[in-house]
């Protein structure tokens, strides 16, 4: 049975070699903090594989090698001599300490993109709500628009440190763009911050990973990384659109008011 189970495991690995060849690691990193996470991931994958294989190899070898065949022989009543368990425990302990230290070291630059003096930075407020994200851009040039904002798609300039500041208006949400770094939980009433610095233009997609009610899988987000010029153009366009929309609304309100007056 064990042999069969191992065969199944091997087969499974073989089956996965095809679809998973592109997927044995997270999406390739596009931000320095995501690079750190990839490094930590590869090291931990190797460590976990080595430990797992060692534990199972020992166990299954012992089972096979000392299987009772024919008449049962009297086994040697082998028990721990002084120090054997201690040595194994110490080795495991040293390994655990090493992993812990490694984890602490890698955490430093994994949560936020490390500061880079040469790079410009941009502060964006992200507000989660059931079931979309709202992004508020800074530095509105327009007089009529207080805040330039967009939903679902965040557009940022390339090679710029983007400082995200999260809040939620209703329930817990999680910001997660795999290519641009780890997850951040948006908690109502609490401001949580993270940052990233995309080094390549492109569209990076992600999805909230915190169950947030009925339509939770729809809580998706994408980050479109563009050149600095394109970004400014985009924000200006957004401001115009918003101003136009605001005018429309004002016009509509005025019309309604007029209609009401006419009715009276």
């Amino acid at each position: 049975m064990l042999g069969r189970a191992l065969a199944v495991a091997t087969l499974a690995l073989a089956v996965f070699a095809v679809p998973a060849s592109a997927a044995i690691a997270p999406d390739s990193a596009q931000s320095p903090n995501a690079e750190e996470i990839r490094t930590a991931y590869w090291v931990m994958l190797a460590v976990a594989l080595v430990i797992g294989v060692a534990l199972l190899a020992g166990l299954l070898t012992a089972t096979r090698r000392f299987r009772a065949r024919g008449e049962a022989r009297e086994p040697r009543r082998l028990t721990a001599g002084r120090g054997v368990v201690g040595r194994v425990g110490a080795a495991l302990g040293a390994l655990a300490v090493a992993i812990f230290v490694f984890g602490v070291v890698m955490t430093g630059d994994a949560r936020e993109a490390e500061a880079d003096e040469s790079a410009e930075s941009l502060d964006i407020d992200v507000i989660g709500q059931q079931w979309l994200w709202r992004f508020e851009y800074p530095d509105s040039q327009s007089e009529t628009i207080a805040t330039v904002f967009s939903y679902t798609e965040l557009v940022v300039p390339v090679d710029t440190t983007i400082n995200l500041s999260f809040d939620s208006t209703d329930v817990l949400h999680r910001w997660f763009i795999p290519a641009l770094g780890g997850q951040v939980e948006a908690v109502p009433g609490e401001v949580v911050e993270t940052s990233f610095r995309a080094d390549e233009e492109g569209v990076y997609e992600g999805q909230s990973t915190q169950f947030s009610g009925t339509a939770y899988p729809a809580m998706r987000a994408s980050v479109r990384v563009v050149s600095q010029d394109e970004y400014e153009e985009y924000v200006a366009g957004l401001a115009e659109d918003l101003a136009a929309a605001q005018e429309d609304v004002a016009l509509q309100a005025a019309e309604e008011a007029a209609a009401e007056e006419g009715a009276e």
Binding site: M1, R76, G93, F100, V171, T209, Y216
Partner: protein, 628 residues
């Protein structure tokens, strides 16, 4: 006038009918005997295992293809919620309670438990909790995923009664676990057999102690959280209301303490069962009893301390994240030591690969996958990327699968004690292959999908995410897993009353539960032996063997004495199984004269001694050797 000395000619027998014992199920349901209560725990939790396996398969039906609309979102979320809560709160932890509740009092040579009625109350609270959760299918079903985290679960965002059903059901079950744990701790502290010091206690007993204390810590934490949530929902409380300076993360902490505690209990239960089965089937004592017992305690402490390993992305101070990482990574030491101990126990042994050992090894394999995955995600940067994705979730699922396999191993091993019948091994082999193979396929597929960013708890994924093939494979694996579980449950149910009858000690176990009859009588033991080592039953067998070896048929005292009337085969009487059973009751560990172990059937040895003196034939007894 003297009373009549002669009985009346027709004595009048007055009777209103003989008292009829109640039906067996009434007896079981109302008895406070720890074995009856434990049978209810196990039976109910295994029923919930079947339910959760089917519900799990249903969630995977939905996720076979992208953008699936087979099940509408609301219904999917309800099924998902029921799957989660059933697997952990209604199956895994209660099954551990049942197994411990049955076996551990026997293992420590107790004739009962310390607080039998509290123990019984614990079961009925849990049963009421399960009923409450499933009765909600009649009105409003909870949609909470694993845990109803506020603000989503407060009265603004979840105005329906579904959350209340979840909260009430889990609270009742948690209260039941606490009642169980109080009785368990009291029993373990007060009712161990003479000589059963903790250093000689079997590993399952150690794990039971650890589980008792874990439940006493995490159960009340969850009860507190659920009480606060109820106050928030119905009495305008502001414990978790961010608008009123409440702290939504407090609930996350408390519920993660509970669920991480449950996860720790699963690991403890599984490794304890494996640690009991491996020495028996290797025919060797545990390589290091101290290391195994110490590891069990270390897992209990570190496992619960690591509750924040699922909250790295939440706004908690970095120091807390490091504390959780230290505890979670530290688990490597006790778990590695246990695997080393099992390996060393089988080394040089005489390993018989019967179904219990096969299932236990399958459980060990599944646990390596699960715990290895968790070792990865417990490192903060990796956790940031993987937690709440299916990559981290498969670790938890593999631990649950490992626990389920260990539960099957435990049932194969101990069900002969419960029912007096063996469990068929053929279906078990097929089932364990299906369960383990299916789970591994599922786990790998979900791991890779999680790396692509697939979150947990979604009712749909999109075609362009690149996880469609992986989800298809995962669903196939999940169906095999469910099928395997159902096959094995059917096998257990069929064998419970229909299995081949076996003796009291079918495996040659070395702990005290095998000293009791199968099934044990209500008082468990006629006489409780003194315990001299970690393997009391081996000592008893040794004593019997020595007595047989030392027996010399007594020579006639004088040549002129008449020969014994019937020459009887000297070894025959003690070798008969039923004689052995009597023997070990009468004279534990070869010291017949010890006070405190007085035989409950004094006739047998008296007769034996008498006949031994008279004609030296029938009473084969160790004492005779001293005469000659």
């Amino acid at each position: 006038m003297s009373p009549p000395t002669v009985a009346e000619r027709h004595p009048e027998v007055v009777t209103r009918g003989v008292h009829r014992p109640p039906a067996a199920w009434i007896e079981t349901a109302t008895s406070a005997d720890h074995k009856a209560v434990a049978r209810l725990w196990m039976g109910t939790s295994l029923t919930f295992l079947a339910v959760t396996a089917v519900l799990f398969a249903l969630t995977r039906v939905q996720l076979i293809v992208p953008d699936s609309t087979i099940i509408v979102p609301e219904v999917f979320n309800r099924i998902l919620t029921a799957t989660n809560v059933t697997a952990i709160v209604l199956f895994a932890v209660p099954f551990t309670c049942g197994l411990i509740g049955y076996i551990v009092p026997l293992q420590i040579g107790a004739r009962s438990v310390a607080l039998p009625r509290l123990n019984q109350l614990g079961y009925w609270l849990y049963a009421a909790g399960g009923l409450m959760i499933y009765a909600s299918f009649l009105y409003t079903v909870p949609e909470t995923a694993l845990s109803p985290l506020p603000p989503l679960s407060d009265d603004v965002f979840s105005p329906s009664n579904g959350v209340d059903a979840w909260v009430g059901g889990v609270a009742l079950a948690a209260l039941g676990f606490v009642c169980f744990a109080i009785n368990l701790v009291a029993t373990l502290r007060n009712m161990r057999a003479p000589g059963l010091a903790w250093r000689r206690a079997p590993i399952l007993t150690w794990a039971a102690g650890a589980i008792g204390y874990v439940l006493l810590v995490v159960g009340p934490a969850m009860l507190a959280a659920l009480t606060m949530l109820t106050v928030d929902r119905h009495f305008d409380g502001v414990f978790f209301d961010p608008g009123e300076d409440g702290e939504p993360l407090l609930f996350s902490h408390l519920s993660w303490i509970f669920f991480t505690g449950c996860h720790t209990i699963l690991v403890l239960g599984a490794v304890a069962v494996i640690s009991e089965i491996v020495p028996t089937f290797a025919r060797k004592p545990l390589f290091s009893h101290r290391a195994a017992a110490g590891s069990v305690v270390a897992i209990a402490v570190l496992g619960v301390l690591a509750w924040m390993q699922n909250m790295y992305a939440s706004p908690i101070p970095e120091g807390f994240a490091y504390l959780a990482m230290a505890a979670a990574v530290g688990l490597l030491v006790p778990i590695g030591l246990l695997y080393f101990t099992w390996t060393a126990t089988m080394w040089q042994g005489s390993v018989s690969t019967r179904a219990p050992l096969g299932l236990a090894l399958a459980a060990a394999i599944a646990l390596v996958f699960g715990l290895g995955g968790q070792l990865m995600t417990s490192v903060v940067p990796v956790g940031l990327q993987l937690e709440n994705t299916t990559a981290a979730q498969q670790g938890t699922i593999m631990v649950v699968v490992g626990f389920t396999l260990a539960a099957f191993a435990a049932l194969h091993y101990w069900l002969p004690k419960v029912s007096g019948r063996s469990v068929a091994e053929g279906p078990a082999k097929a089932a364990s292959g299906l369960v383990l193979g299916g789970a591994i396929v599922f786990a790998f597929a979900m791991f890779f999908a999680g790396l692509e960013g697939q979150p947990v708890d979604v009712f749909r994924y999109y075609e362009n995410e690149g996880v469609s093939t992986l989800n298809l494979i995962a669903s196939v694996g999940a169906f095999a897993l469910t099928l395997g579980i159902l096959v094995e449950l059917g096998n257990l149910a069929a064998s419970y009353n229909g299995g081949r009858p076996v003796g009291h000690d079918p495996w040659g176990g070395s702990t005290l539960e095998w000293f009791a009859l199968s099934p044990p009588p209500p008082h468990n033991f006629d006489a409780v032996p003194d315990v001299r080592s970690a393997e009391p039953l081996r000592d008893i067998r040794e004593a019997i063997r020595e007595r047989e070896a030392a027996y010399v048929p007594p020579a006639p005292l004088e040549p002129s004495a008449p020969p014994p009337p019937e020459p009887v085969e000297p070894t025959a009487p003690t070798l008969e199984p039923e004689q052995v059973a009597e023997e070990r009751v009468d004279e534990p560990i070869g010291e017949s004269s010890r006070p405190g172990t007085t035989a409950t059937e004094p006739e047998a040895p008296a007769e034996a001694d008498g006949s031994g003196d008279a004609d030296g034939a029938a009473g084969a007894d160790g004492d005779d050797s001293s005469i000659s």
